[in-house]
């Protein structure tokens, strides 16, 4: 049993390496992603998550295909997403694809739902980007029912109605995949996660921690409001990013050209300012450990920590070295997080634990009937 899960998440960007000027092909990027996931298991990480995008320069348009392929070559790794687009995917197809992945991986999977953020994507799938929040809510409410109820009749605004519909295959052991909701600025998504007692994930990459604290606290309060437990028992996941070398100055020198040219924040703040102001660590393993442990001070004790490692055109060799370094500090991170963790903070969700909890609840209910 793992109280806290550690892993990596990938955006799946194909970005030119600013140091040697080369760009990997889509084929290489996809094969590299598989190698990275297998490496994650090898170094002792718990989770590998892939993004979903439908436009260049990103390759992961078909997450369950990739994740099922990885599941077949791993034993313990939990396969997840970062994120699955709840807006532009048909909830029926999400229900079926991820239930299939659940069976193939023997329950070693969950998924993180997100809106995506590129307006032109919506019309490619027949939707209107100005309705993103409404789509998120309606699609998720339907997805929930497709997994939790064997026969569903449904009518909504955005999809053709369903009459007596059964999504197949049914979830493994009758327990649907665990769902995380990823968002960094939309209170409705935090509310959705809280209402259903699902997990809430803040990417914790681009901005100072203050930007994430507000919605995480809101989610924790609303989780308690809906009767799932105390605010401290809400299921929180965080992102993060690092670049480590034994000697911190080596890390800074080596990472700087990748940072300076990175998508999203490149050509903006200096590496020094960005590491001082955001959760990014560029430095020694000890610096990385200290900064990561502090996350729990700001956001409360939490269940899942994912790091972005393969991005900004970093060569595969360096990414794999970074995973080795992450693996080396992992026992310390686990021990330190466990040591500070108060009793009553739930463990990270796994399929086995959720099946056991469901069975225990059913036994409890029967005993009450017979009492």
């Amino acid at each position: 049993m793992t109280s806290m899960q550690f892993g990596i998440f990938t955006v799946g960007d194909v970005t030119p390496d600013p140091v040697n000027g080369t760009t990997v092909s889509e084929h290489e990027r996809i094969r590299n992603t598989v190698e990275i996931a297998k490496k994650a298991e090898e170094v002792g990480l718990d989770v590998f998550a892939t993004g979903e995008h439908h436009n260049p320069p990103f390759v992961p348009s078909s997450p369950t295909t990739t994740l099922a392929y990885i599941a077949a070559q791993t034993d313990k790794l939990i396969l997840s997403t970062s994120t699955t687009l709840i807006t532009t995917n048909d909830p029926v197809k999400i229900a079926e694809d991820y239930a299939t992945l659940q069976h193939l991986s023997e329950g070693r999977m969950d998924l993180m739902l997100g809106r995506g953020n590129t307006a032109p994507v919506y019309p490619w799938f027949g939707y209107d980007g100005s309705k993103a929040v409404e789509l998120t809510i309606e699609h998720y409410q339907l997805l929930r029912r497709l997994w939790d109820e064997d026969v569903v009749s449904w009518e909504g605004t955005f999809r053709t109605p369903l009459q007596g519909f059964t999504a197949t295959p049914r979830p493994l052991d009758g327990v649907a995949p665990f769902v995380w909701h990823g968002s960094i600025r939309t209170p409705e998504v935090a509310e959705l996660a809280a209402y259903y007692g699902d997990g809430y994930f803040a990417n914790n990459i681009f901005w100072p921690k203050e930007h994430y604290i507000r919605l995480i606290n809101f989610y924790r309060q609303r989780y308690a409001h809906y009767g799932h437990g105390t605010p401290e028992q809400a299921i929180v996941g965080l992102g993060g990013q690092f670049f480590m070398r034994k000697n911190s100055q080596d890390a800074i020198n080596e990472f700087r050209p990748y940072f300076d040219n990175a998508p999203v924040y490149g050509h903006g703040p200096s590496l020094e300012d960005f590491t001082a102001q955001t959760p990014l660590t560029v430095g020694s393993p000890q610096q990385f450990i200290e900064k990561t442990l502090a996350f729990a001070d700001y956001f409360g004790d939490y269940q899942r920590q994912l790091f972005l490692v393969d991005h900004a055109g970093l060569p595969q060799k360096i990414v794999l070295e970074q995973l080795d370094l992450l693996g080396e500090v992992l026992p310390t991170l686990r021990a330190e997080f466990d040591a500070r963790r108060p009793a009553g903070v739930p463990d990270a969700p796994t399929h086995a634990a959720r099946v056991a909890a469901r069975d225990a609840a059913e036994v409890g209910a029967q005993e009450q009937v017979h009492a």
Binding site: G156, P208, V264, G268, P269, D273
Partner: protein, 202 residues
């Protein structure tokens, strides 16, 4: 106590925009009882503002100024005219304001330019911008050209400064628009309520 923040985007040292901001601040301290006013120069924040535009978050020094603006009772905005409009630095600062930060806030608009022919910049460029931000802009805009700093125009400039600040003082003494930024998450919006009340048609 009334707190007023004057933002000025003049680039030179000392710029006429800074001088105009100082005049407005002095007039505020004379005309608004108990008011304190301070001038914030944007030039030293130029790199922070650029970083904020590119990264989506304000570095600490800029965040401090944004907090000052958000908590001020009223604002003064002064920009030089570059190429027939407000300075790019001025607009970049406005771009990093959260869109609801100055809703309902009383504002005096002012600009400086090399010729009086630019004076309509206040009404053609600044006023629509602050209209979009839903600020409460006073009727008098204060434009200063080189002529206004000399002996001939000086009294007219002083008159405009005092008139604009008089209007601001009057707004501050009243009940304002009754609107300001909403900090709380709205739990009762239609979309929010639809989450805990999923439709069950069948």
């Amino acid at each position: 106590m009334t707190r007023v923040v004057a933002i000025q985007a003049g680039l030179s040292e000392t710029s006429s925009s800074r001088l105009l901001a100082d005049r407005l601040v002095a007039s505020i301290e004379r005309q608004v009882p108990g008011a304190t006013a301070e001038v914030v120069d944007l030039r030293p924040l130029a790199h922070d503002i650029t970083d904020a535009v590119l990264s989506g978050y304000a570095p600490p020094r800029l965040q401090h100024v944004l907090d000052l603006v958000g908590s001020a009772d009223a604002l003064v905005a002064v920009t030089p005219v570059f190429q027939a409009s407000y300075a790019g630095l001025f607009k970049m600062f406005v771009d990093v304001l959260e869109s609801d930060l100055v809703i309902g806030k009383p504002v005096v608009l002012a600009a400086t330019g090399g010729t009086a022919r630019h004076s309509l910049v206040i009404d053609h460029a600044l006023r629509p911008l602050f209209g979009y931000l839903q600020a409460l802009v006073v009727p008098t805009g204060v434009f200063a050209s080189p002529h206004d700093w000399g002996s001939e125009g000086a009294s007219a400039l002083t008159e405009r400064v005092d008139r604009a600040v008089g209007e601001l003082a009057s707004l501050l003494g009243g009940s304002g628009t009754g609107r300001s930024r909403e900090d709380d998450i709205d739990l009762f919006s239609e979309t929010m309520l639809s989450i805990s009340d999923p439709p069950r048609q069948f």
